[in-house]
């Protein structure tokens, strides 16, 4: 006889991504209903930003997404620049591209490691975190910090790259490129992974856009949509890259109808290769010159009144900043659109019923749900 019961997954649970929890109603091993419980990381960022001047908010925003803080700095800076009507120097655009792509590489390594670990393939998790550390080393040499960089500012970037930046970055990229086949052998061509991941955790393709799915999850559902192409920011319109999407998985086999854990992982691995190529191009084509505009005094900034919505493509999906100013020294409202807001709540709550309990945690991790950008 099947027995119905309730399960609480998280917040103290290795199978959830960070500090969040799921309330599952289960019959036997089949999930009947899911409710996502968030709010464990609520710090009231949007309230705090209204209390601080425009410049003071830069160190605040990067704390919104911990694995990939640079997208926040970039989006906030772009929103301020949009309201101010500033055009940033050409070199700063290229540096931003390099920083954002390095951050994407790091975040993808962590996610791919997380997906593998949720299936018990701990080697990939160890490698992913270990290799990501070399990227953090680059960040440390460029910006002075490992995790929160506060490097991208309204008007450009804080300072120029160090003289040996090119060698530093190229060395790590060469290393990562050498490592990629190992990841592929142990993960994407691994029979254990294929048996567990193909056809599991499917986001319905016809519903993907309506449900607000963005980023790699949307591309795994078969749409070639990427805000780096649709609304180019930084130097993305000057570099040449392809957006991987289902069913064009390159050298990886197409094993399913897409939109499952396998395809989402494959898309992430392909995106890492694209990131490496983007950074190489940007390093090669980067012009000389200033990296930051000559600002008026930071503390005296008054941003013209207006509404601005700016979006960037993060490793998880669309990251948007809605900034409202009334012409004063402080913003009236800053509203952050995190990609996990839709992925973690309404998408997961809809796709989980009918799933086996064992598949739930890999599905949540493969959607790349990052709780701090849900509750902020």
């Amino acid at each position: 006889m099947m027995k119905e019961f309730e399960l609480f997954v998280g917040p103290n649970h290795p199978g959830v991504t960070g500090n969040m929890s799921y309330h599952l109603w289960v019959e036997g091993a089949t999930i009947k209903k899911v409710e996502t419980r968030v709010g464990y990381l609520h710090r009231g960022f949007e309230k705090l930003m209204e209390k601080r001047i425009w410049m003071q908010n830069v160190p605040l925003v990067c704390r919104i997404c911990v694995p990939e803080p640079d997208v926040n700095e970039a989006a906030y800076s772009m929103a301020v620049e949009d309201l101010m009507g500033w055009e940033i120097p050409e070199r700063a655009k290229y540096i931003r591209t390099i920083i954002l792509e390095l951050a994407r590489l790091g975040a993808h390594l962590l996610t791919v490691g997380g997906i593998a670990a949720s299936f018990g393939l701990y080697t990939i998790a160890q490698w992913g975190v270990g290799d990501r550390d070399y990227i953090l080393d680059i960040f440390e040499q460029i910006t002075g910090a490992r995790v929160y960089h506060i490097y991208i500012w309204p008007g450009g970037v804080r300072w120029d790259l160090p003289k040996n930046a090119k060698e530093l970055i190229t060395k790590v990229l060469d290393y990562l490129e050498k490592r990629m086949p190992l990841y592929e052998d142990l993960l994407i061509r691994n029979k254990v992974f294929i048996r567990r991941a193909v056809g599991v955790g499917i986001v319905p393709k016809d519903k993907a856009i309506e449900w607000g799915v963005t980023g790699p999850n949307l591309r795994a559902a078969g749409y070639q949509l990427d805000f780096r192409k649709l609304e180019p920011y930084a130097a993305y319109d000057s570099v040449d890259f392809e957006v991987p999407y289902y069913p064009k998985l390159g050298e990886y086999e197409v094993l399913s109808d897409g939109s499952d854990i396998y395809t989402r992982t494959a898309i992430r691995l392909l995106e890492m290769k694209q990131s490496i190529s983007i950074i190489r191009q940007a390093l090669k084509e980067m012009p000389e010159g200033d990296v930051i505009l000559k600002h008026p005094q930071w503390f005296a900034w008054k941003v013209p009144a207006g509404y601005s919505y700016v979006r960037v493509e993060s490793s998880k999906g669309e990251y948007g900043y809605f900034v409202v100013s009334d012409g004063g020294k402080k913003p009236v409202r800053v509203h952050v659109r995190g990609p996990s807001y839709t992925h973690g709540i309404n998408v997961l709550e809809r796709i989980a019923p009918g799933m086996n309990i064992a598949d739930f945690s890999p599905t949540a991790i493969s959607l790349d749900v990052c709780p701090p950008d849900i509750e902020r």
Partner: protein
């Protein structure tokens, strides 16, 4: 004398096998994977992550705590068996850090649970985390890490503060005994 000797041996053994609760309470959890995995590898000091609080010795409060998480942290802390140790990780646990004026994060962790050791910084580097663990081991060996004894001794005061925080109000504190009877 014999009893004292035995305590020394037990401390010596327990400092070499610290199990840490796998609970990411804040953004400091981002620096834990590098410490746990191959590059910094804290397992060489006998420290390993543990999913259930009942078998763990160390609770790491990684950064700011919202009131909602504090409730879970207190529950986790009370489930852990004695002796147990708490490390406050990052500036947010010391005085609120950059969230000093946030309405939802606690400012001083030691008001709610006893803290043995703080790590300063936002966020602390992996080296700092490992240094903190080594210091904690030293403290355990010397018998200085006595936060868990404080929790028994001043239980009423800790509970009073926790109640205040959970209700977001200074007044309306229920009587502890009455609540326990439920």
């Amino acid at each position: 004398m014999r009893n004292d000797d035995w305590k020394k041996v037990s401390r010596l053994v327990s400092k070499k096998s610290l199990w840490m609760v796998h609970f990411c309470t804040g953004c400091g959890a981002m620096e834990m994977p590098p410490v746990m995995t191959s590059r910094y590898d804290m397992e060489r000091f006998g420290i390993a992550p543990m999913a259930t609080p009942r078998q763990a010795d160390v609770l790491l409060i990684t950064g700011y705590l919202s009131i909602k998480t504090l409730k879970r942290v207190v529950q986790v802390y009370e489930q852990m068996r004695d002796p147990k140790y708490v490390i406050g990780f990052g500036s947010c646990t010391i005085n609120g850090g950059m969230y000093w004026d946030s309405y939802n994060t606690i400012k001083d962790l030691s008001k709610y649970i006893p803290v043995d050791l703080y790590i300063a910084g936002c966020m602390p580097r992996p080296e700092a985390i490992m240094d903190a663990f080594l210091k904690l081991m030293e403290m355990i060996e010397k018998g200085e890490a006595i936060g868990w004894k404080k929790y028994h001794k001043y239980y009423d005061q800790y509970k009073r503060n926790q109640r205040m925080a959970f209700s977001y109000r200074l007044d309306e504190v229920q009587d502890i005994k009455e609540d326990d009877a439920k």
